[in-house]
């Protein structure tokens, strides 16, 4: 019953449902997307009107009874028919006018979102990997303010941010529907996009171009925060990982060094500069793991570390055979990576 009403709601009140869908782009929250959204609504309403009009025309044309003589076989007598040209003489010019207006609107919307206003101080260098997002933050290119994170982007509300898009392997597409349309990440070139959130909140994004086995599990989250909170987040991300406080976690850091560090970086932990997997320096500050696949909770972390291939078959994360003692220690350590 609840399902049935859900279906009815989704079908009949899809605009409402769009409000409830975290990735619906019929309601958006950023200057980089809003002009597209208005255009989308405009063209959608026009399209629905055209469909309704032609469907009605076909239906009326079929059911409207036309009397007339029948031939020997009982079929309406063949005739040259009345003049049908008025349909074309009115319909085609009207179509052309609507078309030109749509094209005009399109070009205005394009101009509005083609590039960010001014010269944004913050640039995100995003590199696509099979199947996660590497994110490097830059502030006017100052090296001391640069840091690397993964799969979760934070933005200051109301400020445009430039996004530079590259890929480490195949083609991906960067897409946070509530904030902007897609831009592809293509080998051999750097594409530029921009984001601006006008409302604090958490926005889901997902890879928009088929990129192989785990394309379905290549999501990311964008957290738009007030400027103050954003500043403190940035400062925290710049810091190094703290030395573990407990013996268990300390043991865990050794397990990490021997088993994980070849692929993962934890800034501040010796011997851990691996670039194959996400930077884990502040892992616990992120909401999800495995590129938006699982919530970042201890149980999921344990499952992911011990058998990633069951959760995301084909991912770069190998299945590690750890003793339960090693696993517990490792969990204690990664949970200390705030």
């Amino acid at each position: 019953m609840r399902r049935a009403s859900g279906i009815a709601l989704a079908l009949l009140l899809s605009p409402l449902a769009a409000q409830a869908a975290p990735m619906g782009y019929l309601s958006t929250h950023g200057a980089s997307a809003n002009p597209i959204t208005s255009l989308g609504w405009g063209l959608l309403v026009l399209s629905l009107f055209v469909v309704a009009f032609i469907s009605l025309a076909v239906l009326v044309g079929i059911w409207w009874k036309r009397r007339g003589p029948l031939d020997e076989a009982g079929w309406p007598v063949l005739s040259r028919g009345r003049n049908g040209m008025p349909w074309l003489l009115v319909g085609v010019p009207v179509s052309i006018v609507l078309l030109c207006l749509s094209a005009l609107w399109t070009f205005f919307a394009l101009a509005a979102v083609a590039s960010p206003p001014g010269n944004p101080p913050i640039t995100l260098d995003i590199t696509g990997h099979q199947w996660w997002w590497e994110v490097k933050y830059e502030y006017y290119g100052k090296p001391e303010l640069t840091f690397v994170t993964a799969n979760e982007i934070h933005l200051p509300v109301g400020q445009p941010v430039r996004v530079r898009l590259k890929t480490a392997d195949v083609i991906h597409s960067f897409w946070v529907p509530k904030l902007a349309g897609k831009t592809d990440l293509i080998p051999g070139q750097t594409n530029i996009a921009w984001l601006e959130a006008d409302k604090a909140g958490i926005y889901r994004g997902q890879c928009g171009e088929f990129c192989g086995l785990q394309h379905a599990h290549m999501a990311l989250y964008v957290v738009a925060q007030p400027a103050q909170a954003f500043r403190s987040w940035w400062d925290h991300q710049l810091s190094l990982a703290t030395v573990p406080a407990t013996a268990k976690a300390l043991h865990g850091s050794q397990v990490f060094q021997s088993r994980c560090a070849i692929c993962h970086t934890v800034r501040g932990l010796g011997g851990s500069q691996g670039g194959m997997g996400p930077d884990l320096t502040h892992l616990m500050s992120r909401r999800t793991i495995a590129a938006g696949t699982l919530p970042n909770k201890v149980g999921y972390l344990a499952a992911w570390i011990s058998n990633a291939q069951a959760i995301k078959p084909g991912a770069g994360m190998p299945t590690e055979s750890l003793s339960s003692e090693q696993l517990q220690a490792l969990l204690a350590y990664v949970q200390s990576l705030h």
Binding site: I36, G91, T183
Partner: protein, 647 residues
Amino acid sequence: MAETSSSTFRDPVVAEPTPELLHKLESMWSDAPGLIGWFSTVDHKRIGKRYLVTAFIFLLVGGLEALAMRLQLAQPNGHILGPKMYNEFFSMHGMTMIFLYALPILSGFSNFVWPLVLGTRDMAFPRLNMFTYWTFTLAGIFLYMGFWTGHGTDVGWFNYVPLSEHAYNPGWNIDIYALGMIFLGISTTAGAINFIATMFRTRAPGMSISRLPIMIWGTLVANIGILFAVPAVSLDFLLLWFDRRFGTDFFNAATGGRPLLWQHLFWIFGHPWVYAIVLPAMSIVSQALPVYCRRPLVANSAVILATILTMVLGFGVWVHHMFATGLPVIAMGFFSAASFAIVIPSAVSVFAWVATIWTGRPVFTTAFKFFAAEIVLFVIGGVSGFMTAAIPLDWQLTDTYFVVGHIHYVLIGINVFPVIGGIYHWFPKMTGRLMSEKLGWWNFWLMFIGINVGFFPMHISGLLGMPRRIYTYPAGLGWGDLNLVTTIGAFIFALGALLFVVNVVRSLLAGRKAPANPWDADSLEWATASPPPSYNFGVIPSVGSIHPLWEERLQSDDGRTILHEGLVLDHHHEIPATTPLDGEADVILKQPGSSFAPLVVALLIAGIFVGLLLGMWWVAGGCALALIPGLLYWFWPSAESGWAVEA
């Protein structure tokens, strides 16, 4: 009599068809019985039916793949198919439907109907015709070779590099896809050449270009487009195979290649291809819808011009598949405008069809229902395409389920619906039996409800942000219920398709016997028996108007068609050739009869591709060398086929 078959010139006899003549023609044109005839026939009617059956089998296979995917996606976190298998399923589904169903089914119609509509006895190149069927079938088997053994292509029918390069996909699967597509391209191109030569050279006398039935135009324009579009994709796949097999650098960004070169070549082909697989189907509607409206098509000439304009514009819009790749905005603006402009010729066709229904007096046959439904589905698929032409909006829409909904309305709405309607329309001509209208009612409504319940919600799930080509999705994104509805719709549609198969089989066995012209239609195929004799027409008709069988009743102010007497042409497989524009007889052609050469040559070409795939160069080279005697055997001059032979 002064005539002999080796003479260079003749004044051909004009007469009424006598029983003796028909008997003589039957003995000349009919195939040998049994398997020998089956493998060596060049009869366009048999080839056409074979094309239809084969393409329909591919439709069913592709449909089953789709149903498996729909089960997987019916709920969030589905796990019926693993990621590898799901990716193979959606790739094979796309490849099958787009390449092995959509065009071949139309080739089937055109093969069967063209010579009949054109009032002649065969295509311009009968053996080439059979060759295209064999190569199509062999290429289809080739493309499916890997699927059954877990090596199906799994990076989508669009096959983007570098995902399809050796570094990311080292298995057989992409090699099979790449070589199979080149192989299939040979078939498609050969077919296009045949249709073009047939249209320009082998029509009945009197069928000037202005008297050409509209159905011919759609297929002609599509095949001219194919001539220029297919080389792009064949080349694309060849370069990819070179990259994979020999380590060339066409698409490798690290050594001077560019991944976007793949996309340019692919979509230079891909977009015209969409028109190649809908324009012939639209012209089926333009041809047959008016029959059931009991009047000629409104604005026939405008619809022909619109058909041509669509194809021409179709070559200028490929970049709208690449709006998100970071191309310069100015360049994209041009392609966006061109994409918008395609709406204009589409509007011409739609308004012409609607006007035909309004100003006619429709007869509600099953075929009519499919054609009328096509108009609505065409408009839905059209406006959603129009939305994706808007560059910034496309940045949101592209690669979401909105586009999946769009292409299914286009391909099912403008291809499958006219095809099923076309089968109901021409089935009596093909088999001599009528299909059941009662089953047809159920067939139509299940399919019509199925497509709308199945594919309309896809637009909404797309607008709610659901990406394409994901094998699973989490709950909580608002996609679950919509996907359940889609799955239910897909199964309703499949039930409709099943009912269609039941109707075909039942009607074949026990359908009512069909008269020559059960629908009182206008074109020449209805002037001969159902099913037509092997020679199609006892004497070649002389065409006087665009509606040969209606012209008297419509009091056409064009000429009058003569059916009761005509060119006899009974010296061997003879047909008249006519001038391209005026349709005046100017040569008596001697057409080849049944032959094993097409099958042999097709098998040798298949051998080349198998050799290339396996890296067994001696197999490929051996088959290529064997092609030389094979082709010499095919083309060897004989007096029967109109060559001079000196004593």
